[in-house]
Amino acid sequence: MNKKPTLSVDQQLAQLPRAIAPARDLWPGIEACLKHDAAIRERHLRGADARSTHRRRNFALGLAAGLAAIAIALIATLHPRGLIAPLAVQADGGAPRSPAFLRTRNALEQTYSADLQRLPRQTQARLVKDLEIIRNARADIRSALAASPQDPLLNELLADTWQQEMDFYANVSSTTDSARVRWPL
């Protein structure tokens, strides 16, 4: 005695209500996920603030290095060889030995070393790498100087690597007045 429904399948499907209320409240589970998300986002934001500070410092360093490189390139382009007197660096390519330079350099190096320890490991690694770039450049210039020790341009470039290194220390260590420190040769 099965009485078939009078409506077709399509008609019955079309009459189904689209909304169905769930048997239990699903919001608590969703809310927990949203709050978890919010907590993670907040942690990221705090981390981003700290990273931003380091990024600004790295940006300043990069800018200083870039400006130094441009300055070197300009000097190399604008000054014909022989017009600029060699600077007072050591003949063996070593650091200038004037007492004023050594005092300034030692002070900056000490401050830099102390500051470096306080920075995050990742930033430390990047700074060490930056310093290595400057020192490698100096090594390259020294190699070139070995072949032509009186070349004024090479001597100037070499002197500039010392200036860059000092600037590097000063930029890392300084907080408010990161002015370029001109060391006496």
Binding site: N2, K4, P5, S8, V9, D10, Q12, L13, A14, L16, P17, R18, A19, I20, A21, P22, A23, R24, L26, W27, G29, I30, E31, C33, L34, K35, D37, A38
Partner: protein
């Protein structure tokens, strides 16, 4: 107007109001697509969490209901794919679809006819998805095919098959689509 509402929803409390407004529609869709209450509850929760995360990217080209439906369908499909990968349900479902012998009509000697909701839930996944989207929620074949990432022809074939199965299981005469 929409941006004001989006701003209101960007707080958890504001989003709860959004949830309350749409949960019935989303759960209904998930329930019919999955055919299982618990799976539908999971998919509904995942849909709203995904909507919360994607809210900043929501573009007012569609309504929030349409947007939520799209997310819900993706959640159900992703869940099925995950389950299929785990338990090789895909092979079983494909075998079910390929089976040319239709099941015994409901209402026969042994089996009483199923009500519509239970009959829908008993359909193979592919056929059920198409039937729910096209026949219950009013999507076109093209839209349903896009949502399910299948060809429009496959969509039509699934729908035809779903109608046949429904008619049989509900003890109705077979209808032409």
């Amino acid at each position: 107007m929409t941006s004001q509402r989006d701003a209101a929803w960007s707080s958890v409390r504001g989003f709860e109001a959004f949830y309350r407004e749409h949960v019935g529609a989303v759960f209904g869709l998930c329930q019919r697509l999955t055919g299982q209450r618990e799976a539908a509850e999971d998919c509904t929760q995942e849909t709203f969490v995904a909507a919360w995360r994607a809210l900043p990217q929501f573009e007012a080209r569609s309504t929030h209901a349409t947007w939520l439906h799209r997310i819900a369908v993706n959640k159900v499909i992703a869940r099925n794919a995950s389950l299929a990968a785990k338990f090789e349900l895909a092979a079983a479902d494909a075998a079910h679809l390929d089976d040319t012998a239709l099941p015994e009509p409901a209402g026969g000697d042994a089996t009483p006819p199923l009500d519509l909701e239970r009959a829908i839930a008993s359909l193979p996944d592919g056929s059920r998805h198409v039937l729910v989207l096209v026949s219950v929620y009013g999507y076109s074949h093209t839209e349903a095919a896009q949502l399910l990432s299948i060809a429009a022809g496959t969509c039509r074939a699934h729908l035809h098959r779903a109608r046949q199965l429904l008619a049989l299981r509900m003890g109705l005469d077979e209808e032409t689509p």
